[in-house]
């Protein structure tokens, strides 16, 4: 147990920065490279690193299986729901101009919501896949 001390301490140091980077990639995707998909994979990678170093139970305390499973459909619902709002307010499906009086601001908000949906689904799917494979091997 003492042999992986460096690994454990190193992981503890790195984990918050991985999450911070995922959030940066998510919310800075409008200006720099990145977006929901990349951020989703990076945040799932954080959970996977946590599981590899500290065990599956520690990871599932941070990201419980029930939550991860529900994230998979939730993201698609956020994405599709964003489109349905446009439909309900008398515009086309996925027409974001309904979110604000200024069309460009509405599009900005729409892109934000849609990327959020992608983040939730991708991160949920990747983490759930990892959990499923590891639990099979137990």
């Amino acid at each position: 147990m003492s042999l992986d001390l460096i690994l454990r301490v190193g992981t503890k140091l790195v984990l918050p920065f991985i999450l911070l980077f995922a959030l940066y990639v998510q919310f800075h995707g409008d200006y720099g490279p990145g977006g929901g998909f990349q951020a989703g994979v990076i945040s799932a990678g954080m959970i996977i690193l946590l599981a590899i170093t500290f065990g599956l139970d520690a990871a599932q305390r941070v990201a419980p299986k029930a939550v991860v499973d529900r994230m998979i459909p939730l993201g698609v619902l956020i994405f599709a729901g964003t489109g349905v709002v446009g439909l309900a307010l008398g515009k086309n499906f996925l027409d974001y101009s309904v979110f604000s009086h200024d069309s460009a601001h509405g599009h900005e908000l729409g892109i934000f919501l849609v990327e959020l949906g992608v983040l939730v689904t991708v991160s949920g799917t990747m983490t759930a896949l990892f959990y499923a494979f590891v639990e099979r091997g137990r």
Partner: protein, 179 residues
Amino acid sequence: MVLLTLLAVVTVAIVRQRSLFGVVILAGIYSFLMASVLIALDAVDVAMTEASVGAGVSTVILLATLHLVKTTELRSVRRQVLPIFVSLVTGAVIVWGTLVLPPFGTADSIIHRHVAPRYLAESIKDTNVPNVVTSVLADYRGYDTLGETTVIFTAGIGVLLLLRGSRRRGRADEEKSPQ
């Protein structure tokens, strides 16, 4: 050129390698090289995806799979003439297809004259988003991205059903057998 040579070397190494653990690690290296190639091509968004998915998550998931199955590739008992023929023909067809493509990086090729100029010119006016990749993915081509998200959703649900469903059946058999 250096990167492409390294890619070829890693590919040959993957084919020659019999230990599946080595194959998974080499595939991770391949993904990182591919990400570097994409950065050299100025496709940073794709490079980021390749590095995080190809080298990160899929390597981990493949290693988790190796935990479940044997880790040495068995020698094939069939003759390998037909597979080699199929791969050579497919490769030749793909190379033949690239001959009619416009030269690499031409600004006035057909795909760059359709909607791309309008996206580049009006992205900021339409959406306030300076990164055109994001505005194309999430706004102009929102339907496609919704489809992609649904694909991830469907694939995830499918794999989860396969892995968890059969496990439950296996457990039910174990519970039945002692009685």
